[in-house]
Assembly symmetry: C2
Homo-oligomer: 543 residues x 2
Amino acid sequence: MMNVPLRVTAMMEHAERFFPKKTVVSRTASGIRTFTYREIANRTRRLSSALKKLGVQKGDKVGTLAWNHHRHLEAYFGIPGAEAVLHTINIRLSPAHIAYIINHAEDKVLLIDQDILPLIEAIRDEISGVHSFILMTDEPELPDSPLKPLYHYEALLDEGDPNFAFNPDIDENEPAGMCYTSATTGNPKGVVYSHRGIVLHSMALGHVDGGSVSESDICMPVVPMFHVNAWGLPFAAVWFGTTQVLPGPQFTPKLLADLIEQENVTITAGVPTIWLGLLKELDEGKYDTSSLRYVLCGGSAAPKGLIQAFESRHNIPFAHAYGMTETSPLVVFSRIKSYQQDLSDEEKLNIRAKQGYLVPGVEMKVQGANGEVKWDGNEMGELLLRGNWIADEYYGEEQSASFTDGWLHTGDVVTVDGEGTIKIVDRTKDLIKSGGEWISSVDLENALIAHEDIFEACVVAVPDPEWQERPIACVVLKEEARGKVTKEDIKEYLKPQFAKWWIPDDVLFMDEIPKTSVGKFLKRALRDQVRDHYASEGTVETK
Amino acid sequence: MMNVPLRVTAMMEHAERFFPKKTVVSRTASGIRTFTYREIANRTRRLSSALKKLGVQKGDKVGTLAWNHHRHLEAYFGIPGAEAVLHTINIRLSPAHIAYIINHAEDKVLLIDQDILPLIEAIRDEISGVHSFILMTDEPELPDSPLKPLYHYEALLDEGDPNFAFNPDIDENEPAGMCYTSATTGNPKGVVYSHRGIVLHSMALGHVDGGSVSESDICMPVVPMFHVNAWGLPFAAVWFGTTQVLPGPQFTPKLLADLIEQENVTITAGVPTIWLGLLKELDEGKYDTSSLRYVLCGGSAAPKGLIQAFESRHNIPFAHAYGMTETSPLVVFSRIKSYQQDLSDEEKLNIRAKQGYLVPGVEMKVQGANGEVKWDGNEMGELLLRGNWIADEYYGEEQSASFTDGWLHTGDVVTVDGEGTIKIVDRTKDLIKSGGEWISSVDLENALIAHEDIFEACVVAVPDPEWQERPIACVVLKEEARGKVTKEDIKEYLKPQFAKWWIPDDVLFMDEIPKTSVGKFLKRALRDQVRDHYASEGTVETK
């Protein structure tokens, strides 16, 4: 057999040749425009040649600070097209973290959205390794800026070569992209994506039983393109000739609902927080969302109630998947097997609320205290993963406990049932150890979130002299329930569902739960807050 | 990113872990039995260990002479599981060709179905390199046979190790399989399939826009497992947990129709000859075929009438694909793009009767007399292919004109339209050159086959002193039309459809058209026959 390198640019060539008329609907600061893949491919080739002219060398990191739009899509292919590395930067991180990331990755060039410009201007003295700044703007003229040299993206493209040929003979293990994890503690850590990894991950997204992305789909990634490559969807969508809808900057639930209706979106993807917002909008407004084949939910576990609300109230199929920055991210997809179709709706919901089973192409094992755990839905252990779209190191780190013996240690504690269905029980570091037994904070949170008066809930451990640790529930009540629901009500509600020693010692009502830049609970911060609270016997934003 | 070898055995491990309850329905000489993937995986591990015990070394070729059944499926994984090479041998070839193939591949072990045993016994003196014969039989005892040593497949499995561990650290470019082309001329040529090639090809079979094979499917490959790995379907089906129905030896159209109905088959695959036979059966009998999602047709071009008959008369979606032994085989799949859905049924049929466009993961170019042809649906050139499941050599041949500059030269003359849709116009060697222009024998054949009185038709060239070559139509009339339809009727029928100089100079009525062992027209033999006919002015089986 031939051994032809798997490469990101071949996916754009495929779209250019076989789907030149298919389109990308792009929302930017100035409105919504539509581009064909012929145009996108042409602009991508121009971008690659322009980057080369700016002195970008093979292996250089080129950073992007941008929302989901056509220019960012061009960067997804145009930067690897110049044999450089697409480094997507999370614009929601603190300026200090952004500066750290740019320096740590040694970015040579930055592509920046106009509304993000002030953020970079503010840290310009700290990122002296960057030799060129490119502004991705709809405006014809560049603004005054202390960033030097600052180039106009469209002007660069105008001077670029529309016939620039991508190198077909690269090494498929070369880096094509990188992304830093949104750290809940310490500095962000860089994950590098190879051409091979991105292409194989894209294949998994096209599988019927995986993402099932196809030519006939209209895919709207709401998950940011600066976050694990928008779960790889822009890559896969180009390859398969899928129409894309890129919702641009500062979108609202209303905007998303409008786009779904107007563009006949069939697949959309995002974190639970996004879907909670959209759900509220759909409940209140009148939208035709019948085009949706499914809503993909990942990033953190989807509460059962959320799945149910989308399906029963709006007839929108809700798909649950699991992954992380280190896994490209898709590794586990929740689906009902053919012989499970006759189960009751509730049984099926219980299966689907779990994370799911492995997509073809990755391998797993679950490591408990005494080796691999039984697949009995009960024994807990840490999920270990292996595969071509799984990271084997953090960029620039000599060693990390996350990567040993050829496996990624995910830090997620799971059970696996006889069907191979994975259920995340906790993070290794969030598991509560009480009296020699383990309490799953996630199980308690899922039960809490199913309470009709609770908007958000998070369970953390506090030290206990007798039991080592005890759980405390932090609860955000819905507006209308505040002042009416008591701590005792919550505890009584939990009692029939759990062993007595699992019931939290206390319930703290809060206005909100601290979150990371991508909407995950910041458990470490919350834990500190709660521990301080008990230490000082004061109150912490409780009501 | 990790670089984990793509390997065939990982696909069986995936089925074993995530689809242990899913089944393989296997028809053998003694009837139909059902096995779970847990059982198949267990037996596969036993087979690998048994082969090792027989002295099979890494890289050894192990030949199979078998129909489509569970034991052959176990060999598909168990032979690569022993780090040997699965060499599927076409049992329909002549004994001389089979002996040639076994010796050329240097097969060390042969796995043989009981009804094929006499064939191998007859050539035993010619294949002295084979050190062990294994009989795949339902009978408890071995028959008397001059083959020595002859092992009983089930007895070997009984002694095999059900916990045999497949090596996870192979080189993905190592050979896992091989298959010889059914040559229309000269000796058969060997194509070697790597682990990498088979895994990537399987991925393409799982794509929504490719084979769309999924866990919820029930897949019946009618195409023999000795012919290009049954188009790779058994590999993909195992990986995706798809139920398989393997129709066994000596099946009839009635048996296929019964299996479709009884087993609720959703996908079935075979050559046009198979579907012509099934069509007749469905027209005459009463079968419920509503479970079928699609019938996959390849091997040679599907006549429009066949597509139409399945869809309009039986409501069975008919999918057309293109490939060859050298391409694993799937490279081109015929589908209607989303924006073509509003075309008339006839326009869509015209698109679908073409071969289709490239599946993601392969590259093409079309080489005409003056470089790459225009994609205008008109300019003709030879189709060249490149990709990870495309052969780069014939086994044991120093050089071949089929492989130059890193591309496979398919020998197929095609046009490509603006959508990238490929239409095979002819084989390079079957193209008719008349008066300096090209005449497509395939176009003429398609027109002939659409005639209501014609069962089969084949057009070949005869030398002509004035025009260089001229086309002759060889026609098999349907029973009821014989003696009624004349040569002139046929020519008159063609005249409105083609330029005057395309009309065949003569029409020869025949009882049948010579075919290869896999049902393709043996054009070379026919051409010789026709030329002899004119040389002697005699008659050749004409009516």
